[in-house]
């Protein structure tokens, strides 16, 4: 449906978007994930027609958007921090697009009701936007973008300014809204949780280029390079030496397939390590010492010092005697280790 082909947007000599190819299918939700300043918002603005293309093509439903002004493009854009019109009430904001389309007033009113119903804000038409809470403003902004019945809905950090509880609530509601609207969705965020939860596919962007486009599960299991891995919060990366299908690591030797001989970097996924005092000497693993216990979201983790660095391991269930200072053996599941291609990304860890 949407085809972005080798798109470049330069600000003077600085390439904000530097050759991006991306497709969004009918009813598909694609998230563009990247650190701030990577060019992801500029990409959205280019699709909306707010930034002129330096090069490349943007095609929607077989039609080249290049010559169309922003108001002629069948896309909806939800801005970061909403950008609601302060001089209009909720109905005035949501009905703005339909009114611009020249629809008769009854139809405009119907569109307002329809869009507000979609975001669960029935009968709020006459309220002033300044009176709304942050979450309500968010939903009004979404309703405003939806009221024009866009072929493509674009959202720029839509949940960025909300507190955690509200964000989690909207994370549940949004897929439902996307499904009911049924158009393509391009979703820009710097938060991997949002991207992995909402998107059918995630495109990771860095310095104006896409590093990887993949389904969330694939992205998580097999990040394309160390930058992607670190941006997703996967920091357990080790050096290894491959010789004839076997990688020598601090855990011992583990089998790898289709990797040429030489030095590589290995990503140890969070569930690759487990506490296993019963592990035999022949299994890949490590001896270490518990330094502390840590809670992360819904999980309890043990921080273990071993082989000169710290590892995070899921804490075994049940009451535990693994106090700081006690020694522990870690077992490595070789199938949950991923070989990272490309050069070391030590120097560009995400901020």
């Amino acid at each position: 449906m949407l085809e972005i082909r080798d798109v470049r947007v330069h600000y003077g000599a600085h390439p904000a978007v530097d050759g991006v190819d991306l497709d969004v299918g009918e009813g598909e939700v694609v998230a563009v994930l990247g650190p701030s300043g990577c060019g992801k918002s500029t990409l959205l603005r280019a699709v909306a027609g707010l930034e002129p293309l330096t090069d490349g093509r943007i095609v929607l439903d077989g039609r080249d958007l290049g010559r169309l002004r922003p108001d002629q493009r069948p896309v909806g854009l939800m801005f970061q921090d909403h950008a609601l019109f302060p001089h209009r009430d909720v109905g005035g904001n949501v009905g703005f697009g339909p009114r611009m389309q020249g629809l008769p007033d009854t139809e405009v009113q119907a569109r307002i009701r329809e869009a507000l119903a979609l975001v669960d804000l029935v009968d709020t038409e006459r309220r002033a936007v300044q009176e709304l809470s942050g979450g309500e403003q968010q939903r009004v902004a979404l309703a405003r973008a939806l009221a024009v019945r866009p072929r493509l809905l674009m959202l720029d950090e839509p949940l960025g300014s909300l507190d955690r509880a509200l964000r989690d609530q909207l994370l549940v509601q949004l897929p439902d809204v996307f499904a009911r609207v049924g158009c393509g969705v391009l979703y820009v965020t710097h938060d991997q949780d949002e991207a992995l939860t909402l998107a059918d596919r995630v495109a990771v962007m860095r310095a104006g280029r896409l590093c990887q486009i993949a389904a969330p599960e694939v992205l998580w299991r097999r990040p394309a390079d160390e930058f992607v891995a670190r941006f997703l919060g996967l920091h357990q990366i080790v050096d290894a030496e491959v010789t004839a299908g076997a990688a020598a690591t601090v855990f011992g030797t583990i089998p790898v397939t289709d990797v040429p001989d030489g030095p590589v970097r290995l990503l140890v996924l969070p569930d690759a390590l487990e506490v296993a005092d019963d592990a035999g000497e022949g299994e890949p693993g490590l001896d270490g010492e518990v330094t502390r216990r840590r809670f992360s979201a819904d999980r309890s983790l043990l921080v273990v010092a071993a082989a000169g660095r710290e590892w995070e391991v899921p804490a075994p269930p049940g009451p535990t005697d693994r106090r700081p200072g006690s020694s522990v053996r870690l077992r490595l599941h070789p199938d949950r280790v991923h070989v990272l291609p490309g050069p070391s990304a030590q120097d560009h860890a995400p901020a």
Binding site: L50, R69, D71, G76, H87, F96
Partner: protein
Amino acid sequence: MSMRIGRGVLLGVPAVFLLVFFALPVGTIVLTGLRPEGSLDLGVVPRVLGDPVVRRVAWFTLWQAVASTVLTLLVGLPGAYLLARVKFPGRAAVRAAVTVPFVLPTVVVGSAFLAVLGPRSPVNTALTAVFGEGAPSLDLRRTVTAILIAHVFFNYAVVVRTVGGLWSLLDPRLEEAARTLGASRWQVLREVSWPLVRPAVASAAAIVFLFTFTSFGVVLILGGVARATIEVEIYRATVQLLDLPLASVLALLQLAAVSAALLVYGRLQRRVTAQPLRSAASTARPPRTMGERTFLAVNLAVIAVLLVLPLAVLVERSLATDAGYGWDHYTALFGSTRNTVLAVAPLEAIRNSVLYGLAATLVALVVGGCAATVAARPGWTGRTLDRALMLPLGTSAATIGFGFLIALSRPPVDLRGSWLLIPAAQALIAVPFVVRTLLPVLRSIDQRLREAAAVLGAPPRRVWREVDLPIVGRALLGAAGFSFAIAVGEFGATVFLARGQTPTMPVAIFRLLGRPGIANFGQAMAMATILMAVTAGAIATIDRLRVGQVGRF
């Protein structure tokens, strides 16, 4: 105890100043007008108002003010948008240049337009060069057109600063949001931008209306005998006709009209809606399309022709002599020991202006500084004082000058013949600008800084010296420069008060212009050029100091 005394001084200084130099003179005028023979005679009001000449003057005052306001908005709004939203090389310089006319003395503006629109202007020289001797000759002197153009020249900066100031802070994504929702450029302007900047447009319109309604120097110089605003008529009634009741009733009429305009202005100010504002740096973009580049070019051309050309011609005229160009007029100004027109050496006028200006600046800073300190604190006292100090700005300078003349020359305050009168009148007009400049800075000081200093052992006066003063210092310097520029250029009140032997520069220019002869005209142009350089220099100093709020209401 000492705190309360400090408070009393802070409030007392501006209050007494306002009482003696504003309430007393203006009040005396009102009473004199209504009591021509010592007893209250309201009959004079209908008599004056029924006079067809007065009616004509009132009607002219009103319609030229309305026309000037509309024209200024038409020319100024695109300029405001340009300077707020479009990034181009030299934008800062253009923005500074646009501000200069606003602070130029009315006499300089009048002289400049006399030079541009008169028969000897370069425009006519160019026409003759192109079409030969039979070319149509442009002479707009003593026409309404000249007055209107000069008013636009003068008030362009008001629109650019007031509207552009808000425009540059408006979130551009509101307009982008409207674009993605299907609004054309025109619809964005009508549906989003206009409603958001409308309050600023309205207050700019109110200020321009106020300034042009009370226009004095420009009309006096460009209008000739036939065209007079109420303000000019007050001057004539006093100085030429010696008809004090007429002058008083006219002053009353003007006070009423100005008060009404100020009331509307106050209303409009209150209706400003809270808006999401962005830092000005993030909202401007370079022009991209052909249309945007054309818009830029057209506006820069307007600025060049309307704002730069008159000043350039002024300088050109000051250098033009019978035999080409030279410094003749300047040497004449500095050379002759005694000028027949001025009754003193022209150099004296410059010296007078600078001395009066410095004194006025000192007075304005002390009074304005005290007032701003009081007004920055929460509570009704500060708010009331702030509003009261705005009143002189809305009162005609001629009324103030005239009021000084009759009220301060007899007990209880007898300052007859005192040199103090001129700086006091000039300070009265400069004080509102000082307060406007200092107040936002004072209000922006985090109260916790003062609290921290107090907790660390600083007594109140020490807190002021260690916290407030260093932060306000820069704004104070800016206010000083602005006050000086205003005082040096002040004409309306000074022309009443400056006696024959102590003219200031604007008064000297006016007297020179009133005499026939190319030498007098050239010397007037030379004097106006010097005056322009002095005020522009003061303003350039302010710009260097980056005091952002100066001249914004």
